[in-house]
């Protein structure tokens, strides 16, 4: 089944990912792409605590994820790949590297960002990066949980 959901969410693995999306997709593995978490056993244990034992959790750096993306896409199980920011997305999708669709699921308020949706705050630079990815052929929508309507990129940038 491969990766059913590529999700940008600054909370990384949490309830919406594991339960909200994981249940209806029947996800059997979750890949968390984050350089900081990848280098910390304590942080990995924290994120693993929120996942049922029958779902595999893979922690990867951005560089590792770029190398293993095709392997995960060929996995017969259904997977979710989650990362915390648009720069990581851009790195994964660079040069047509295999990311064809992205779910913007949660980017919250920080200085320099403005509200685009209730759960999406973006700086102008981040919005421009998403538009650039869309221009390269990546389908970008915002949707916090599966029961809501996916919002097209042009409606939140």
């Amino acid at each position: 089944m491969s990766i059913a959901l590529y999700r940008v969410d600054d909370r990384l693995i949490h309830g919406q990912v594991v339960v909200g999306w994981g249940k209806p997709l029947n996800a059997r593995f979750i890949v968390l792409v984050d350089d900081s978490v990848r280098s910390s056993d304590q942080e990995q244990e924290l994120y693993r605590m929120g996942v049922p034992p029958d779902i595999e959790v893979v922690f990867a750096s951005t560089a590792e994820a770029r190398q293993r993306l095709s392997e995960w896409e060929r996995d017969p199980r259904t997977g979710i790949l989650v990362f915390g920011d648009i720069d990581t997305l851009a790195a994964l999708a660079a040069n047509g590297h295999g990311v064809s669709r992205v779910n913007v699921g949660g980017l919250h308020h920080r200085p320099g960002r403005s509200e685009r949706l209730r759960y999406v705050y973006l700086s102008d630079g981040e919005a421009a990066k998403l538009k650039a990815l869309a221009a390269q052929g990546v389908e970008v929508t915002a949707q916090d949980v599966p029961t809501t309507r996916p919002v097209p990129l042009e409606d939140f940038t």
């Binding site: 909370r11 309830g15 919250h108």
Partner: protein, 126 residues
Amino acid sequence: MSDPLRGVIVSHAAVAQALLTAVAAITGVNDALVPVSNDGCDSGALTERLTRAIDARPAVLFVDLPGGSCLTSSVRLARGRTDVAVVTGVNLAMLLDFVFHRDLAPADAARRAAEAGSRAIRTPAA
């Protein structure tokens, strides 16, 4: 005598506020608990809310789920500290016990609350 422990309820949506309201209605104690919701927060913003709620006092953080953003921010805040402890799976029974046992060390209060909360989970015959 040191300050009595503060209980901080950390939850999704309005669960924390509802639990606080219920504890006050049952016990009349309304100065022991502080609610914190993760609504609209990334981990940094939630940590700021938690820091304000703890207010530099010894505290137990009562987290709704044993995973997710409420837990990760709470554990990061408590890591390496003896004045802050974390309990997951918050329920009304553990809070009712906690508000009358706030003179313990945070770790001891957390263990006691977890036991009280666990005892309340039953499947009585109908």
